[in-house]
């Protein structure tokens, strides 16, 4: 890595709804006060970051990916070969056969098997990606159409665009708001990251899910830091998370208290640190940013 390579901070959580986006918005606001950054929303099937960054959309691009099979009803002889070929349950039998485009994986196994060449495949448009301007820096974000596949590829594209922009403008930080879970889009969001900030809540489910997302970041060699949100909800679970972090030598950011001001800020469409700078949750976020800045050598 050269010194010009931007640092990539990704916010992840495993469990959904722990506060990733609220934390990401606050960090964007705080980071922008000291350095130029690029922001990327990698939660492409439930993207929310733009709701609290007041973006001005500059560019919209179509995103086409994958393949979907289609049977020509005039040519189909209803032999059933396509159904036998399909491992994904995507062929609907009948007087003529048809493809369930949502179940279709785009593998074309049916096309190869069809004896009368009645099946074609096409590349559907499955989403859009955007460049917007915000008060904190350029925002790259996307929208995956309802129920579409290939969210991982769209995440990769959004991140690539953000990275090119950071290199072009010499911006030292890319802040990535990640999706929940541990699967395909999370792996794309975490790939190449300098540091993953894992936002967890002190609940039985939160502790369980932290262990899985941490295993993913470790598997891919991404260093992690843990931030406990709503820490006062359960002192016992917070202690459990602290013990886990100590055992795994993972640094802990200052915990955030449970505070409805975070929701209030969201309703106003602002990062909580911009809406209520003196609230204790905002102060903890300022300390967190200082810690992250040191970890990222910014």
């Amino acid at each position: 890595m050269t010194t010009a390579d931007p640092q990539q901070l990704v916010i992840l959580s495993g469990k959904g709804g722990t506060g990733k986006t609220s934390v990401a918005a606050a960090l964007a606001h705080l980071a922008a006060q000291t350095l130029p950054l690029v922001i990327a929303d990698a939660d492409v099937d439930a993207s929310n970051l733009d709701l609290v960054l007041e973006p001005q959309r500059l560019e919209t691009h179509d995103f086409a990916s994958g393949l979907v099979a289609e049977i020509d009803p005039a040519a189909c002889i209803a032999c059933g070969e396509c159904e036998a070929a399909c491992y994904f349950d995507a062929i609907v039998p009948g007087e003529i056969y048809r493809v369930d485009p949502i179940a279709c994986e785009g593998c074309a196994a049916c096309r190869y098997r069809c004896p009368v060449e009645a099946i074609r495949t096409y590349e559907p448009q499955v989403g859009q990606w955007f460049l917007s301007d915000t008060a904190y820096g350029p925002l790259y974000h996307a929208h995956l159409f309802a129920g579409a596949e290939n969210s991982g590829k769209l995440v990769t594209l959004v991140k690539q665009q953000a990275r090119l922009r950071a290199l072009d403008d010499n911006r030292p930080l890319i802040l990535v708001d990640g999706p929940p879970g541990i699967g395909c889009p999370v792996i794309s969001a975490a790939s190449g990251a300098t540091l993953a900030l894992l936002v967890v809540e002190p609940t039985l489910a939160g502790v369980h899910d932290l262990q899985r997302i941490f295993a993913v970041t470790r598997h891919f060699g991404v260093p992690a830091m843990v931030l406990v949100n709503k820490a006062d909800l359960s002192a016992a679970r917070t202690a459990e998370i602290t013990a886990f972090c100590r055992a795994e030598s993972v640094p802990l950011a200052p915990s955030l208290p449970y505070d409805t001001i975070v929701t209030e800020a969201m309703v106003r469409g602002l990062p909580v640190t911009a809406y209520a700078a003196r609230a204790s949750v905002s102060q903890a976020l300022q300390e967190t940013w200082a810690l992250l800045k040191a970890h990222l050598a910014l």
Binding site: G14, K15, G16, G17, T18, T21, D45, A46, N48, L51, V52, L67, A85, Y87, F88, D89, I102, A103, E105, G106, C107, A108, A109, Y112, R113, T121, L144, A146, G147, A148, E149, S151, G152, P179, P180, G181, I182, G183, C184, I187, E201, P202, T203, L204, A205, G206, H208, D209, R212, V216, H219, F220, L233, S234, R237, T260, T263, M266, V267, G269
Partner: protein, 296 residues
């Protein structure tokens, strides 16, 4: 009734609603209770329902993708397998076949198209499904869950296998509750396939509203399912979700008030109807509404 509890946004309370509804229905007198109760945790990336239902898991099986394996003695290096692979998971270099397991979707196209019959399929494990029972209030709930292995990307095949493993003997007389993963992408759609009703859990905030709109698009428009909404943490945020539901004609079937005691019980893994039995009445009413909506 096959009911999928989904949400779009994560952490809105899918598992809370799914678990508490099942516990409430299980506690009904035998004559008011469906003949068969099935609970499937389809959030195979981060399954949590077991933490609240404490099932006794008696069976487990490995799930994976059918990966090609090349018999080098038969392979002529013709490259047909690489040509037909829609996922670029095969490359043929210097007449040698290279397979990239993490890109393979296990579709079988290469096996079928190999002119030498040199490819056969072996299972590459990507996760597990496990199942057993939950005994509560004298009723037995058949419980199943899937678990995606760490570092694996594809959740959908595990969900598909889980749904095939635990099916109702008589679907009309059963209540099947499927707890979906968050989001609106392929794992959610796989969970929703074949459902009778989609129950969307949201919170009354701008984030909740944004993701609810997409979830209604997926379930009602794309999949043609009847939908209803549960508003969790009612009282926080704003009126956006209520307004949207009225405009879109989506019924609000239950409102769960913001209650810090419920959040504290949740943190310890205690379902709200167990910690505060008064909530059972609300979930009984939800079940009655769902039956009306599905039969309508």
């Amino acid at each position: 009734m096959k009911l999928v509890v989904a949400s779009g946004k994560g952490g809105t309370g899918k598992t809370t609603v799914a678990v508490n509804l099942m516990l409430t229905v299980a506690s009904l007198p035998a004559q008011d209770r469906p003949a068969e109760l099935i609970f499937l945790d389809c959030d195979v990336e981060e399954p949590n329902a077991h933490l609240f239902l404490n099932p006794e898991l008696t069976d487990e099986t490995t799930v994976g993708l059918r990966m090609p394996q090349v018999d080098v003695a038969r392979c002529t290096g013709c490259g047909r397998c690489a040509e037909v692979c829609a996922f670029h998971a095969i490359a043929v270099i210097n007449k040698k076949v290279l397979i990239f397991p993490e890109l393979c979707h296990g579709c079988g196209s290469c096996t079928y198209n190999c002119p030498e019959g040199a490819i056969h399929e072996v299972l590459r494990p990507t996760g597990t499904i496990s199942w057993g029972t939950v005994t509560t209030d004298g009723a037995t709930v058949r419980f199943g869950q899937g678990l995606l292995n760490v570092s694996e990307a594809m959740a959908t095949p595990i969900i598909r296998t889980l749904k095939q493993q635990l099916t109702a003997t008589d679907p009309a007389a059963a209540l099947e509750i499927l707890d979906a993963p968050p989001g609106n992408a392929c794992p959610v759609v796989e969970t929703l396939r074949g459902a009778d009703f989609a129950l969307l859990v949201t919170e009354p905030t701008p984030f909740g509203l944004h993701d609810l709109r997409v979830a209604v698009d997926v379930t009602r428009k794309e999949l043609g399912l009847p939908v209803g909404v549960v508003i969790n943490r009612d009282g926080v945020g704003d009126e956006g979700v209520t307004r949207f539901c009225a405009e879109a004609g989506v019924p609000i079937l239950l409102r769960i008030p913001q209650d810090r005691r419920v959040a504290t019980a949740y943190a310890e893994g205690i379902p709200m109807v167990t910690a505060f039995p008064a909530y059972r009445e609300a979930f009984r009413a939800l079940y009655a509404r769902l039956r009306e909506e599905v039969s309508a």
